[in-house]
Symmetry: C2
Subunit: 557 residues, 2 copies
């Protein structure tokens, strides 16, 4: 970084732009970098076999000595999920609220990263901390997880305000409202740029209070006589609190089922984020001995995830919970895009077992954690930023959010819809796009980080569609004569017993191709192989309209 750039402030999103997930933003002033969030994203449909996607952090690695701190807005996977990978490459102190860092710690433990070397700094909002040339206000916001914050970063160039994921809940479950006064105060002082959550920019009106769900749950608990099973997001601790409360009021006991649910509930209990009367929480075995009308089970599986507890119950694959005709199953969640069919299938299986299933399509048992249009406009009007950068959203969400900003009076030339890796360069009164840094998706498959690329994915795609045929021939190294084969082995192509005739034709076709090569004195293996592929591929396409991968293996012996 040259000297004359030192008086400029850069904002560089490394994730979360044009996508829901892998949120990560660089705030840079001279040789000082603050990183906001390190999230993961779940793979797209065509990323076959991939477990998770994390941001490309080449830029961070190249500038690792400048990174002064990592600020975390809240404990959701799309904000903390890449930390185990990031912290292997860079060493910087973490700053977050108590619950957020509690969840981060749990995560790092799972991945066996030695956390002793990592400085974890719990910040309780409203607090301002100083990191290098920056002063950072931690500002409470509401979200579908407790202890979520936004930031106001005071820099020598101006104030940068980042909302994090937020909604404005006027009646939050724990009474801790979003700090509207702070946002107003910042707006009065003058904010250079606002980065604000765009997830729900398409939704009109206001997002309902989490308390509404509490009332719905209570109403259901009052009328149901059999067992109650509630599936929700493990991290929605306010929701879980409300389920416990409703159970208590209706004289029921509760067991918690599902690995991530048990994990989060334990962390929340340890850190004081769940308040549960004694003896309300029980072991599942113990609970199973109570009469049905005394039972509540809180479980994972609200997205119909194939291995989750609720899905296993629905499929009669759960060891300890069998769904029965008088059960009521409450799915307190809405499907994340892409999961619609999974959750529908789980619901169908539950109905088949005779359970009564209550879910979003037919009742208000879920509210979003993200601000709708009226809240987004309110935030813009409170903060009154000079420049506006919609963040956290697919491209259309960013566009809609930019329209909202124009509606409240921000000039369109002061609104920047940017891609990951784009550099936004600020002075006290200007903002411009200034080049780009490396950014993108790194695919994680098992232990492999970035070792699955386009070629591997293309192969998996072809294999998944039409399978593979392996053609094996042994050739005498002296004479070039076939001494064994051709043998053909297929996987994922067609069930062989039903297609012996086709396989015989295929062998014949390979022999022809080999004879032709011999006749034409072709001896380069690559040519022979491509001849085999071409002849055989043509035959198979004609006969089946499929294009399996063809892998000729020629051995010289």
């Amino acid at each position: 970084m040259s000297k004359n750039e030192q008086d400029k402030l850069l904002i560089i999103p490394l994730g979360g732009m044009g996508e829901i997930g892998k949120n990560m933003t660089v705030i840079q002033y001279g040789k000082e970098i603050l990183l906001i969030d390190s999230g993961l994203m779940f793979p797209e449909e065509e990323m076959l076999g991939i477990d998770i996607v994390i941001p490309d952090i080449t830029y961070l690695i190249e500038n690792k000595e400048y990174i002064k701190g990592i600020l975390i807005t809240h404990g959701h996977e799309d904000h903390i999920g890449a930390l185990p990978y990031v912290l292997q490459q860079i060493n910087a102190p973490l700053y977050g609220t108590k619950l957020t860092l509690g969840l981060v710690e749990g995560k790092l433990k799972e991945t066996r990263l030695n956390k002793k070397n990592i400085s974890m700094n719990v910040v309780k909002p409203p607090t301002t901390i100083n990191i290098g040339s920056f002063a950072v206000d931690f500002i409470r916001v509401n979200h579908s997880i407790p202890d979520a914050v936004g930031f106001a970063i005071h820099t020598p160039v101006g104030i940068i305000c980042h909302t994090g994921d937020f909604k404005l809940d006027q009646t939050p479950v724990n009474g801790e409202k979003a700090d509207l006064h702070k946002f107003a105060e910042l707006g009065s002082k003058g904010v250079l740029a606002l980065l604000s959550d765009s997830t729900n920019a398409e939704r009109e009106g206001y997002t309902m209070s989490e308390k509404v769900v509490g009332h719905t749950i209570e109403d259901i608990f009052k009328t149901v006589t059999g067992r109650i099973i509630v599936a929700t997001f493990a991290s929605n601790i306010h929701r879980i609190q409300q389920i416990f409360d409703a159970a208590y009021k209706n004289d029921r006991k509760v067991a918690v089922v599902g690995r991530s649910m048990v994990n989060v509930v334990n962390i929340a209990l340890d850190l004081g984020y769940l308040t549960i009367p004694k003896s309300l929480l029980m072991d599942l075995d113990e609970l199973n001995r109570l009469p049905k009308e005394k039972v509540v089970i809180i479980t994972t599986g609200s997205q119909g995830e194939p291995m989750s507890a609720l899905t296993r119950m629905a499929m009669s694959e759960h060891k300890k919970v069998e769904i029965m005709p008088e059960d009521t199953v409450l799915i307190s969640a809405s499907p994340i895009p892409g999961n619609e069919k999974f959750i529908a299938r789980t619901i169908d299986h539950l109905f088949k077992k005779g359970a009564n299933v209550i879910y979003e399509a037919i009742s208000g048992v879920h509210v979003s954690g993200h601000a709708s249009q009226e809240e987004l406009k309110l935030m813009l009007n409170l903060v009154r930023p000079k420049f506006f950068i919609p963040v956290h959203g697919e491209y259309r969400h960013l566009v809609h959010h930019s329209h909202l900003a124009m509606e409240v009076g921000i000039p369109s030339e002061n609104i920047f819809i940017v891609e990951n890796g784009r550099i936004l360069e600020f002075t006290k009164d200007s903002c411009k796009m200034a080049g780009r840094v490396t950014a993108g998706k790194v695919l994680v498959d098992g232990l492999g980080v970035g070792d699955v690329g386009n070629i591997v994915l293309r192969d998996r795609k072809q294999l998944s569609q039409d399978g593979i045929l392996i053609v094996v021939v042994a050739i005498d190294k002296e004479t070039g004569e076939v001494v064994s084969g051709p043998d053909i082995i297929s996987r994922g192509f067609v069930y062989v017993r039903e297609s012996e005739e086709l396989m015989e034709q295929a062998r014949e076709k390979v022999k022809q191709a080999l004879r032709k090569c011999q006749e034409e004195n072709i001896s380069e293996w690559s040519t022979i192989k491509s001849q085999v592929r071409e002849h055989l591929g043509k035959l198979l396409f004609e006969q089946t309209r499929r294009r399996p991968m063809i892998l000729p293996i020629i051995m010289e012996v």
Copy 2:
């Protein structure tokens, strides 16, 4: 079929129960069978490489001489898409309305089925036709395709009423209302059983009239100044008519783009289902020469299908249409479950090109073709059936529909939620479940019908997740010594250049396994192969946490 069963009436669903798609119902009296619909279904996510799914028609093939006719409710794929396959196995006259049979004809032509041998009987409702012991009333209903009908089948045992897919549009685009009088008349006479469309049984209230969309489209056309591109379902001819009408009123010309859209528009024009003023419809090249404010393009791709015209436009891959900043793209459809992410991606790409995109999340540019709860209850109250069988829906839809039937007073013991293949046996005043016939899914992959089963799908699944490693060794047939290899070839596992070390370890591991077999005098190839698989699998899992398919190939030379 034994004689004493001859006075009983059977209803046997072969598809459409517990699923959206592949609708097919058998109505049987003694040795006479009527078949209602022959639909296809699109593959579930885990059916890798499968093109379409059709019903198992073993029962029809076994009883082919009894099949007196095939009644078609309307021309959607989930009602006619299996006909090319069914008609290869059974020969029976088809009965349907003019447009429905027009679309069937187009379909059969595509699949080169010789249609000369197929008797096609156009029926114009309200008409009653006699087929064997049955009299069949064709009853007009409204749906998202013109010329849809339900049936009242008069049998010696009683009247069976089947709604087909329907809604009750009080202001249909072509003025042809659902024949409520006929349903009322049947209800007065006394109906033994009603089979009714459950697709929207979860939706409260009434489904809006198709005309509402027409008004929305007109309002949009009035205000837009640039080019207009409208994507919708090819078969929604009323929608297409309204787009043409709006174009005409606003002095724009229209071109039709996309194979299936062109195909359906041509059939509809030929048969008189579209009324278009002269010179309104233009060739795309011709249209492209007009000023932008004169242009409307109607196109396929409303589901974000990867190969569709709109998707190709969005991706800059369409030869003749390039999306430009002042374009307005109207997506007049709602996503079919499973397509949400595809359509979202298309919308994002269109926004990135600067187009204004209008779609369901932000305006009422689509209405459903299926009846909502109030219409379903109205149908039940009009027809007043003794027995009720909800059809056309996933399991939860059937359950909700059964609840609606109970609400209007049908006793729960007279409501039958049945699976495909279940036999419902009727007398004049009773209905009971009576065994089952073969039913299920037949997977179509390319030209193969039913040749891809669970083993092939399981292989494709494994290949898609972690790829394949092929281990090739040549062994001397006399001594058992390795003469060539082991060579390891991987596809879809890991990019080899980045993992040479791992491959070297893998070869070493295979050598070890082979040595061990030799030392222990193991000579059965299956044991040697499973040893190789086990040792290598363990190494790869430890090193990568992946489980690729491992295929050992041992050649004796």
